[in-house]
Structures are given as C-alpha cells and as structure tokens.
Symmetry: C2
Subunit: 413 residues, 2 copies
C-alpha cells in the first residue's frame, strides 16, 4: 500500500499552482475572441474619435455666438447647412452661423459646441433662435477623448468580455493574439465504474459520473475536453492510457485511483514516467483529500478523487484556477468567478486542522440571502445537484456559527 | 419624424417579457447538455444506490456483534472473506463474522454496518479485533438513500450545470429533452457605420462595434448568433434585410435606427410587416431609451440603440432575460446571473422619473468591494471596456449616496 506522500494545505496548493506558466499563443478572429485571454497588451493605433463628434441632435455653433442666450434674450443665428451622418463635415462655420448636426455627426471646422435641438426655435428657413448658452466642448466628444493614440487599451492576461471585443472592433483590430486553450483529457477509472449509458446496472457497479460533470466544467472554463472513457483499474492499462493522453494533451484529469487502496495505481503510473514530478499527494481538506498533482515537462497531471462530490469540489477550487492560469489569465483585484455573500442559516461544524468545503443551498428569505449546508453523506451523488456552491471553513476553525456572513463560491451554472 | 410611441418603465418591460413562451424541444446527448434548459422534469427511474454501499474502507459487520466494543474490551470476529470492488457481494455474513469491504463496495447479506479499518486490529489471518461499536447503518449508504425510484430529480425549466449532467449520468439518462437554443440574427445599421476591418477610417465614420459585442454576449448566453453585417440606412434595404432575417431566426437584433431622427427607419420597417405588433418604443431609462420591442407571430424583434454603451446595457438588462425565457429557463428564488454587493465610492446622481443604469468599476480596498461610477460621456466606447457592470438607480430616486450598499450586475466576462 502506497502511503500519502505530501499532504499539504489549501494555501500551499495555491502557491504551487502560481508557479505554472501560460501556454503559447495563437491568433483568433474577433468573431471567436470572447472568453479568450490576451497574450499581449493592446495599444490604440489611432485617436478615437478621430474627429470631434456631436453627442446630441442639434446645431453646431461657435460658443461665443450663444454667450448669455436665454428664453428672454435668445441668440439669432443663420442656418447655413446640415452635417450628413457619416460624412466628413467640410463646410466651415463663420461667425453668426450654425449648421444642423445629428448625434454622432462630425463637427464642422469653426464650430466648438453643439446646442441641443430642444433649446432652439426655427424662425424661418434660414434662421433659428438659440435659448441657452453653450461652453466650448458642450455636447461634443473631442478627438482622442475616448482613446488617445498610444493609450494602453487592454492588458496582456485579460480575458476578453463582449464589450472588450467591441472595443477591439472600434480600433479596427479584427485579429488578436491569445493564449491557446488547454487541451484536457478526461479519464475515469475504478472497477465499479460502468459507462453512463448502461441501462441495467449490475449490482455493485455505478455509472461513470465524473467524465460528464468534469467535461461540463471544462466546457464552461473554455478548455477543450477530450473524453477518454473508462480505463480498467489495472496498472498496465492505466499506464498506457495516461501516457497516450499526455502525448496529445496539455492536461490529464484522471478521476479515481488516487487514494491509498490496493487498487489505487495513480502514483505507480506516475512513478513509471521518467520525468514526472509529484508536487503533492493529498490536500488537508474535506472533501477531496486524495488529490494528486504532478508535472511532466510542460504537461500537467491531476489525480482527482473518484467520489463525484469530491471531484467537483477539487475541480472548482483548484483545477479551474490552474486551467485559467495556463490560459494566461492574470488575476485582478476583484474576486474572480461567481461568488455570493450570504448568512449561514445553521451552525456549520468543522474539524481543526483541515479546511472543509461544505456544499450549501442558497435561498432568498425576507430580502436576505441564506446559505444552508447540505449534511447528506458525501457519497451521495444527488448532493452535487442540490448544492448551489460551497462555503470554505478555514483550516484553523472548529466551525462557523449560525448567522455568520460567508462567501459562497458558486458551482458554475 | 416618427414620435416615440409607448415609452414605458423598466418594470413594465419586465411584465411584457414575462409573457413570452419558450421555444420547442429537442433531444441532446449528455456530452452537450451543460448549459441547456430541461424541457421536462426528470424522475429517478431506479433507486440510487441500488445496493447498500460502504462509505469507508473497513469491515462489513453485524452491528450487534460489535455492541459495546472498546480498546479495552474489543470484539473478536472471524474474517470470512472480502468484497471485491464493483462486484455483487453474495457471501452472507453469519453471526461473529466480518468481511473486508472497500469504500463504495456492496454490503454483503446479513451485514448492517461497516467498521472503519482504523478501528480494527488483525490478530491472525482469520481474526480481527474491533475496538469501536457500530449502530446499524453506520458508514453505509442505504438503498435509495441518495435518490428513490420516482423522486423528482430536476425540474422542467432548470438550466443544467455540470453537476446536474453528472447526476443524469448516474441515472443512466444519456439523452435529455431540452428547449431549442434561440437563433438570433444580428444586424447593424447607420450611415456612419463601416466594417470593423476597415483599416483607414474615413472622417465621419465609425467601425461596426455592436455586431461583435452583441455576438459575444449571445455566445455567452447560449444563443446561436448569425452576424448579418451592416445594412444601409435605407427603408427598402432595411425592410428586405429584416424580413429575410425574421424568416430564418427566432430573434432579430437590429442596432441603430430606433431613435427619432429622419433616418431612423425601424418603426417604418415594422409597420410594413403585416402581423408585427410593436410592444413598446422607448424605455424610461438611461442609457438605452430608444429601444423597440415587437412581436411578429412567434418571432421577436428588438430595435436596439446604435450607441454601443446603450446597446450593451439594454442587452444585459432586457434582451438576455428574454433569451433565457425563450430557452425555457424558469427563475429560481436566488438572484440569477452574476451580481456583486459593493459600496458606492462616490455619490451617484440621477434624475427623478427615469431609471439610470450607471456603469461602474469594482475594486477591492481594505477587504471591502467598492463600486466607482464611470462618469465619461456615454458615447465613449472605451467606457464599455472599463466597466465591470452597472448599478441601477431606481426611477423614483434622485441618486444614491456615497457608501450606499448596491447590487452590481456584472457584464459577463
């Protein structure tokens, strides 16, 4: 029987994850860029706007011509034309003149402000009254006021959101360098595991759950999942399957086979791979203690617990952050991922010396959000589906009292 | 000039959205089910587990045989065999006997509890000492304790998360009926709009932003986006493009052309379609007032503002919830989507009589999360990208004070 090698704390795991380097780059078209992580900083290659633009429908004016204008003493000005939307405004404005302009239209030479159409009154075809004053720049977006040539627009390591893709479009950048998405092989093992499609379950067996719940997680994380199915709990078969998976993927996720039972071959598989470095074997948390992380050159190997609740918790807490790191994402100073603040509706007991990740259900009552721990046995697969997320009870705590404000890390939708 | 027809409040918009019915059904394989919405309720077709399972490594016992066992007075029991992982346990247990059993193994007939291996001591090949008592059911998951035949497992209208897909796998359900994903056509219009790939921007023009930021949003929402490009700001061309898009899609999103300017043809396009019903034209919010919603039979038509900040805000606040509704998602009693509670770092002024959706940046300082409003002109496209989300200032408020606890609706990542 192999012993647990290096049982470490959750924060030590985090330090180890922080040492992995991002994957290499590839170009993507803007159509497919949402959710990808920038490999290099984007700099504005021109001023936006490139010309002074009206931000309201109205009339382009010289501010000095409407100085002191009011309802009782309006300014009388001559209408000499109209700016066409999307056209270069070339007709200059002489003193005492205005030109009609639409929102987004280009300010003509000589004009320095826009008065809103609501503050004007036509007198005849060629003349309007302006009933409000305007300061230079009123209702105008100046050249480069939005983005200036050379401005840093988006930093390397930023995961592109829809609005960022819109900004790239505004800059005429229709292809960007992003980090490659991790290619992840998913393998299940365990003599009790049979394919999910098995209609009549033989006594003693369970269907393969982890391949599907992990692939679903990978899908949402932006990784490319390859389901490698169930591999028999035998050392030669598992070794062959893992070696094969390592060849074609950046990350291998093996669930099952990481505990200390006689049939738990993961460590033996790793020991047979010459340059495999086992970074830890066992985390002082519950659930999910029997977790293995190894590095093989630039590849990553996770041995996840076979128990589905544990596998999902470890994925959310550790595997996903590492995948985001491989994708090049740099952490910002706001909490990442979807979390919610809630009050604990009952006491949540724990054991000193290990961090507990307790599944909870969220409920809104009387305008507050309450987190209720699910106390079912952690072998119950339905726990997974009843939980909205988990609450972490720190290592050096004997539990959290009812009414404690907690941060719930949501399992992704 | 067309007048705004039916300017309504944000809550009236919500009531209108609530009246749309979901799209029809289609089967999907479990591999592709994450993120889809169940069309019918899933019921357990068998007990899980189907056999009593050990939840610890140890020995299957008859609880009465270890009654009162302790370190000083251990129970001496005969080891008569071993349960193989994944096999049916058929060897019955007679009084005074135990059988070795792995976590997840099937409890043999006659046994009613498992004692952990840590609480046993081998004496010889055939005999162990048990140093702890056990109650019937200890360290055992009973038949149907996780899910009972006939239990409602997941309700219709539930959006499947990775753990739900795992649960379906556990039940042997590898294909489920889900609602169809909305097919959405995206059209941009405006004489000033040129393709994003335009290298040298002519004076007066801007590049097409909305097609890309909206497609990015659709991608994250689970809708199927079709980019139809930029359509000229002419009534016949716009009418032809919209009619064509309505034929092949469930939803048409037209950005630009929904204001009251001379070139704003959206209402005229809708008026030319015989069974188009304009549900509203204008929402009393800022930004995004010039928004149109129409129903054409079972199809949905949105006229979105051309201004990118407005288009994104309206998408997040109204278009996305309607798409989720079309996909059949039923609201739960916890807030949906990604929100964060934060404190306002400065006063956020507003105008009585219209709801303001103010873009904010989130920052963590001294352990609290702060939301700082972005006060740039709303025509600035870089606002989009600097904002993490928005704060809603209600219609009947003149602003929110510094330090107010606010809910930030995040723009999706």
């Amino acid at each position: 029987m192999t012993k647990f090698l290096k049982v470490i704390s959750a924060s030590e795991v985090q330090q180890i994850l922080d040492q992995f380097a991002p994957l290499d780059f590839e170009p993507v078209h803007l159509n497919a860029a949402t959710g990808r992580v920038l490999a290099s900083t984007i700099v504005a290659r021109e001023n936006i706007p490139a010309f002074p633009r009206a931000t309201m429908d109205g009339f382009a004016v010289r501010a000095r011509d409407v100085y002191g204008a009011s309802d009782t003493i309006p300014a009388l000005l001559e209408v000499v034309g109209k700016v066409e939307m999307g056209e270069a405004a070339e007709q200059p404005l002489a003193p005492g003149q205005v030109i009609a302009i639409p929102t987004g239209g280009m300010l003509p030479p000589g004009a320095d402000a826009v008065v809103m159409v609501e503050h004007t009154q036509p007198l005849d075809d060629r003349t309007i009254e302006v009933t409000r004053p305007a300061a230079p720049g009123d209702n105008v977006l100046q050249v480069g006021e939005d983005l200036r040539l050379g401005d840093e627009v988006l930093p390397a390591g930023h995961r592109l959101r829809p609005q960022d893709v819109g900004l790239l479009a505004a800059l005429g950048t229709i292809s960007v360098e992003v980090h490659r998405r991790p290619r992840v092989a998913v393998i299940s093992t365990g003599d009790e595991v049979v394919p999910a499609g098995t209609a009549r379950l033989p006594l003693g067996k369970t269907r393969d759950i982890n391949s599907f719940s992990i692939a679903g997680q990978l899908h949402q994380t932006g990784a490319i999942a390859a389901l490698c199915g169930i591999v028999e709990d035998s050392l030669p078969q598992l070794t062959a399957a893992c070696r094969q998976a390592l060849e074609n993927h950046d990350v291998v996720l093996l669930s099952g086979g990481s505990s200390v039972g006689a049939r738990d071959y993961t460590i033996q598989v790793l020991e047979s791979i010459p340059d495999a470095e086992i970074l830890f074997h066992g985390i002082a948390i519950r659930p999910g203690k029997p977790t293995i992380l190894a590095r093989i050159g630039r590849k990553v190997f996770w041995g996840l617990p076979g128990q589905p609740v544990s596998a999902l918790t470890i994925f959310t807490a550790f595997v996903k952050p590492l995948l985001e790191r491989l994708e090049g994402e740099r952490k910002r100073n706001i909490p990442q991922g979807a979390t919610r603040q809630a009050e604990l509706s009952t006491r949540l007991p724990s054991v000193h010396g290990r961090a507990d990740y307790a599944p909870v259900v969220l409920e809104e009552r009387n305008g507050s959000l309450w987190a209720t721990p699910l106390f079912g046995k952690s072998a119950m697969i339905s726990l997974l589906s009843r939980a909205d997320g988990y609450v972490m009870v720190p290592e050096h705590s004997e539990g959290l009292d009812q009414g404690t404000q907690v941060t719930v890390q949501l399992f992704s939708r």
